[in-house]
Symmetry: C2
Subunit: 334 residues, 2 copies
């Protein structure tokens, strides 16, 4: 299996990306195709003694930064590392593509270059996020600001397949984000989506869920339109970060509180790790005709390695084929 990796996506590229790839080659026996400035890749690998065995490099001079408008991905003249990776994937020169770069650009690039599975109405950015125990998939996390009910139905189906096949959750509980748990809650979009999800064969749809219950354990797949999903994704992170920082300032107040901090430090670290959705290996771009995977922008080597493992499962479990069977032109949920 060959995973194509954007060597220049993310805050710690290319060094941490290269390290993660080298670890993945060793641990999972995958082949890697790196896209990006070949000269820099070779220099950084040499300087840090990272072996490039089982890795090939496809040169691309430009990089889409986190601050670039997502549409820029289609404009680069010299080829950018992300677009080049997507082109290599579309051409069949690898089995999946992975990037820690600009999420918006990745969604647009995937739509334009890799394209959707026939029958899938929209691609979705679907981050795996932490809850009290384990994790849930949020779909859509922000790829589609304006959504119709048919799209939310497909998000539920795609999310369920991913959580079952890649994350190993049996019969994942699919919940619709709403302003209350009663069946009739919400506006037109929620009413229609509720009915479509309820009627989808084979889906473990548990009905409406409230945002209050998501952090404890509302569902395995949290379905929302992309606007709401993006607010959930960002507020979740914002509240957790602010609280962590407030707690930190309590612990650093004086010598005595620093002692207290030392006592609970290992547990607090593991809590922080648990809340860091970085650890769960990012977000698949669901509905793409070939596996495309987004890693968190701040990913370091271990996260990149984990993401490669998930991407490998994404390929091996034939998630694209499963989605195509469920939603494709001959599929059930049209």
């Amino acid at each position: 299996m060959k995973i194509i990796v954007d060597a220049f996506g993310g805050d710690h590229a290319p060094l941490e990306i290269l390290k993660g790839c080298a670890q993945a080659v060793q641990e999972y026996g995958v082949e890697i195709m790196l896209t990006g400035r070949e000269e820099t890749i070779r220099r950084v690998a040499r300087e840090n003694q990272i072996p490039l065995d089982h890795m090939e490099i496809v040169n691309a001079q430009d990089v889409i930064s986190m601050d670039d408008a997502p549409g820029e991905i289609m404009k680069s003249r010299n080829g950018c590392s992300m677009a080049e990776g997507l082109r290599q994937l579309a051409a069949g020169n690898g089995d999946a593509f992975l990037s820690a770069g600009n999420s918006g650009a990745l969604v647009i690039g995937t739509t334009m270059i890799v394209k959707r599975i026939r029958g899938v109405k929209r691609l979705s950015f679907a981050p795996v996020m932490p809850k009290r125990k384990g994790f849930f998939l949020l779909i859509d996390g922000g790829a589609n600001v304006d959504c119709r009910a048919e799209m939310l139905q497909q998000f539920g189906v795609m999310g369920s397949i991913y959580m079952e096949k890649v994350m190993g959750i049996e019969s994942p509980r699919v919940g619709l984000t709403n302003v209350g748990t009663e069946d009739h809650k919400g506006g037109e979009l929620q009413h229609e989506s509720f009915e479509l999800l309820r009627q989808t064969p084979g889906l473990n749809f548990i009905g409406n869920i409230e945002a209050r219950d998501i952090p404890e354990d509302a569902a395995d797949v949290v379905v929302a339109d992309g606007f709401t999903g993006n607010v959930i994704l960002k507020l979740y992170e914002g509240v957790a970060l602010t609280m962590m920082s407030m707690i930190k300032s309590i612990f650093t107040k004086n010598l005595l509180t620093k002692l207290a901090a030392a006592i609970v430090m290992p547990e607090m670290r593991s809590l922080k790790k648990q809340l860091d959705y970085n650890e769960y290996g990012g977000a698949p771009i669901m509905g793409a005709a070939k596996p495309v995977f987004k890693v968190h922008g701040s990913a370091k080597a271990t996260t990149v390695k984990n993401a490669i493992r998930l991407t490998k499962a994404y390929v091996e479990e034939n998630v694209v084929g499963e989605i195509s069977a469920a939603l494709g032109k001959s599929g059930g949920a049209q």
Copy 2:
């Protein structure tokens, strides 16, 4: 000044409501009109030695519970404490109404009985919530699931007036909740709302804000459609509660961690208090023709007392008149 209080709204009614009212009479010199079962009120007051000086009671037999459908408020035959309070307010027998009961019922009851300020398109439920330092107003917190841009514009205006007049924030920063901070972000509703808010005279509109930044300090007035606002309100609470409970389980792990807990306990308590939006005194129902105020359902005496202080300011600062001047038939933002 006479504040009408729903003696049977909330989890700790009527005892904590009565206590809070008695404290408010003493501290703020207000008159109180209590609505609810007179017999029970007199018995509870007697048993707990709560003086009923400067309080009159208007009997109402029924109570809207937290689990009742909001529409039930208009159906009671024997008069319910919330509807009776709203009727007394509408009839001019008091200056403001306050309830810790069912929020949805309060919005519907206010719409039907107290009615809107002429020119205001929709009432809004606008909770005051904690941020890292101080608080912000979320408007709309869930009264209007489907919103048009003109409504969001009015939310911004009403929220700004409340934060300035009642909460004492000079020239409050008004932000529009969006999927990014750039001007062009979001869907049609956000684009139109952005333009209307930008063009509103006298409003300190700071543009689009992201949910990630709300807990630190994105704005003093966070404008959102009621669906998104409700998700923000509930997720905020959910993430904070889950984190607090996870931290608690760290601290209670063994003797040593319990020692650590004892050291930081006072600070952790004050953090918890800071994050408890209960403390900030609830949510005005903005746009009503007379002041209506929602207290958190779990409110105890001190919160009820604080809410009466805010309700008094709501009356004294003539917030209704200010909103009417800004949005009324002859006002600017039509």
